[in-house]
C-alpha cells in the first residue's frame, strides 16, 4: 500500500528465537498500530504508538514488545517466538484526518 511498507513479507523461524518485524511509513502520520490476524478472527490489536517513544499495549500484547525511535518506523519484536505466534501481522498508520492505511502484511511461521 502506498506510504506504508512491511518487512519481511514472509518469515519462518524456530521456537525460542527472537524475531523483529518492521513497519515503515512515508506519510509522517502520528499513529501506528500492529495487528495480528488468525483464522476465524478479525484483526486484533497488539500494540500501538501515538508518537516517537510513545507506545501502549493492545488486546493481545503478551509476548510482544514494540519500539518507535523515529516517526517513520514502528518495530514489533517477539522476544522468544512460540508456535501460538504463527500468524499474519499487519501494520496500520493513521493521522485521524486521513483515516487508516494498512500494510500488506507479514506472514510469520514459528516451527
Amino acid at each position: 500500500d502506498a506510504g506504508i511498507t512491511q518487512s519481511p513479507r514472509h518469515k519462518v523461524t524456530e521456537t525460542g528465537t527472537p524475531v523483529t518485524l518492521r513497519c515503515h511509513q512515508t506519510e509522517n502520520h502520528r499513529y501506528m498500530y500492529w495487528y495480528r490476524q488468525d483464522p476465524g478472527h478479525g484483526l486484533r490489536l497488539i500494540h500501538y504508538s501515538y508518537g516517537v517513544k510513545d507506545t501502549d499495549k493492545g488486546e493481545v500484547s503478551d509476548g510482544y514488545s514494540v519500539s518507535r525511535s523515529k516517526t517513520e518506523d514502528f518495530l514489533l519484536t517477539l522476544e522468544s517466538a512460540t508456535s501460538s505466534q504463527t500468524s499474519v501481522y499487519f501494520c496500520a498508520i493513521s493521522s485521524l484526518s486521513y483515516g487508516y492505511t494498512f500494510g500488506s502484511g507479514t506472514r510469520l511461521t514459528v516451527v
Binding site: 499513529y31 495487528y35 478479525g42 486484533r44 490489536l45 488486546e59 483515516g99 487508516y100 500494510g103
Partner: protein, 112 residues
C-alpha cells in the same frame, strides 16, 4: 471486554443481486464505524465509514446503515459483482489513539 461482532461468517449471493452484511457492536460509546474489504493475501481496504450522528451513508454501490438503538450496523452492496468476493469486516474506533476494534469477518462469495 466490549467488542464488535458479525452475525454470519459466510454469505453467498448471485451475481447482480444485492448483498447485505450485518454487524453488531456492544460499545455504546463508539462514535465512528468503518467497513473494510480484505482480499486474499492483502491488507484491509477501506470501503465506507459512518459516524454515530448519522443513520445512513452512501458510496458507490455501497450503503452503510447504523441503528444505534439496537447497536447494529449493516453494509449493503448493490448489484454484487465477482470482484466483490472477499472477507468484509466492520470495525469501531475508540480510545485515545483511536484504535480499531474489528469483528471476526464475513466471507462473501459471488456466484456466477
Amino acid at each position: 471486554g466490549e467488542s464488535v461482532g458479525l452475525h454470519l461468517p459466510t454469505l453467498s449471493v448471485q451475481e447482480g443481486d444485492n448483498s447485505i452484511i450485518n454487524c453488531a457492536y456492544s460499545n455504546s460509546a463508539s462514535d465512528y464505524f468503518i467497513w473494510y474489504k480484505q482480499e486474499s493475501g492483502k491488507g484491509p481496504q477501506f470501503i465506507i465509514d459512518i459516524r454515530s450522528n448519522m443513520d445512513k451513508r452512501q458510496g458507490q454501490r455501497v450503503t452503510v446503515l447504523l441503528n444505534k438503538t439496537v447497536k447494529h450496523l449493516s453494509l449493503q452492496i448493490a448489484a454484487t459483482q465477482p470482484g466483490d468476493s472477499a472477507v468484509y469486516f466492520c470495525a469501531d474506533v475508540s480510545g485515545s489513539a483511536r484504535q480499531l476494534t474489528f469483528g471476526s469477518g464475513t466471507q462473501l462469495t459471488v456466484l456466477p
